[in-house]
Amino acid sequence: MANEIRLKTPLTDADVDKLKIGDKVLITGVIYTGRDAAHKRMIDLINQGKELPIDVKGQIIYYVGPTPARPGKPIGSAGPTTSYRMDAYAPKMMELGMKGMIGKGNRAPEVIAAMKKYKAIYFGATGGAGAVLARSIKKAKVVAYEDLGPEAIHRLEVEDFPAVVINDTKGNDLYVEGAKKYRKD
């Protein structure tokens, strides 16, 4: 695996521009969680011209719905969910300044195009490694949509959260390039 690059949130254009597919990153700072239901509500607010419950400028949104935290723990198991379900909402969030998304699985061409246009990165976290990933989450707090339970927007404080660059700001795709390299038919 390539050298590990340390990233501190919030991210700038310069931070994301230097990243390329296959880079392994360790993310430290504040990130926000959001899945389908939270995204839908945020897009509805935007369409009504209202303010979002979080300022997404420079931020990373992690597509995750964790298990309940045990007493004394900040969070439960917390691996990524499949990202394509957020494809309908992601370009708008990037237009508002969001710089990164963490999830797993392929993105739609229009999402990849928006990453190029607005300078943003799609990071992959290891799906199903919820226990490992939970250990890099030091604090968690619900900041919006508490009624959604695991799907509420959480503000997470992470330390060296491991991820891999899947789509960079140049339009490259690790899923395409990686499979090409090892395909045997």
Binding site: M1, T67, R70, K73, T81, K104, L174, E177, K180, K184
Partner: protein
């Protein structure tokens, strides 16, 4: 006739679901090890090491293997000489689910399909009953996550498609699923029966352990062939590229209508969680 009180069933269902979500089978760990040694991609080997580390942490009992702790799928084989007393078996199974997901700190993922409102306790369980000879009840718990389930398909092939058509459909399905179902996957395949029966066969196929071949050598060979073809796709662990795309492929086969060739592909992520108990 042997009597089994419903109160015996509740704690067993609870324990099976908690154990399934925290303790992965040794067959999966062994399959990770094989990939760590053999995968041609260094990134793939790193991912597999992370997955192995993950199941080690979860076995300590504080964090489930994955945050998607699934819908509670239960296969319940009831011996024909058993008389269930003290209440309703459906309610007992649901109570076991309720207690597991609350006391085991598991995520409740069951919701209304239209309003998307969470049912709050991960019920109802998805139950497949069978009546079998004997005086025992066998319960198999298979918590099933959404990501891989979404990549599953049922297809009614024309009988003329034959064995090649079956193999091509499965391989293409896994190619299209790509990184979405959290590879390396376990692929359950149902062949034959009817539209609904073939899907249940595919789900049941996932109860096998990695490396456990079908007893019919002809079908066992087909499983191997399809596994090899999937692993040549290059998708690799998490879709980052590599030679470990599927850990195994399991076929379950039954006779079908002369006009039909039903085929189901039930995709399962690397966390192939299942536990069973007999009462």
């Amino acid at each position: 006739m042997r009597e089994v009180h419903v109160s015996e069933i509740v704690p067993i269902v609870k324990k099976l679901l908690i154990d399934a979500n925290y303790k992965i089978g040794q067959d999966i760990v062994d399959a990770f090890d094989k990939g760590i040694q053999k995968d041609e991609s260094p990134v793939a080997r790193e991912v597999l090491k992370e997955l192995k580390q993950n199941v080690g942490i979860s076995a300590e009992g504080e964090y489930p293997i994955c945050q998607d702790t699934g819908l509670a799928v239960l296969f319940v084989d009831i011996g024909q000489d058993v008389h269930i007393v003290g209440g309703n078996i459906r309610e007992a199974l649901n109570e076991g689910v309720r207690q597991a997901y609350k006391d085991g700190y598991l995520r409740k993922s069951s919701c209304d399909p239209f309003t998307r409102k969470n049912t709050g306790d991960n019920t109802p369980a998805i139950v497949h009953y069978d009546i079998v000879p004997g005086d025992k009840i066998r319960i198999m718990a298979v918590p099933k996550g959404g990501g891989a389930e979404n990549m599953s398909r049922v297809h009614m092939l024309a009988p003329s498609a034959g064995v090649e058509g079956i193999k091509d459909f499965i391989v293409n399905r896994m190619k299209e699923a790509g990184s979405n179902p959290c590879p390396p996957t376990v692929v359950g395949v149902g062949i034959g029966g009817t539209f609904e029966r073939t899907a249940i066969l595919a789900k049941k196929a996932l109860l096998r352990k990695v490396g456990e071949r079908h007893p019919d050598p002809v079908i066992a060979k087909l499983e191997q062939e399809v596994l090899e073809r999937i692993n040549k796709l290059g998708i690799g662990p998490m879709g980052y590229g590599g030679t470990t795309t599927a850990l195994d492929v399991f076929f379950e086969v039954e006779p079908c209508h002369i006009a039909s060739l039903p085929l189901a592909v039930n995709v399962q992520c690397h966390a192939n969680r299942h536990k069973e108990a007999t009462i």
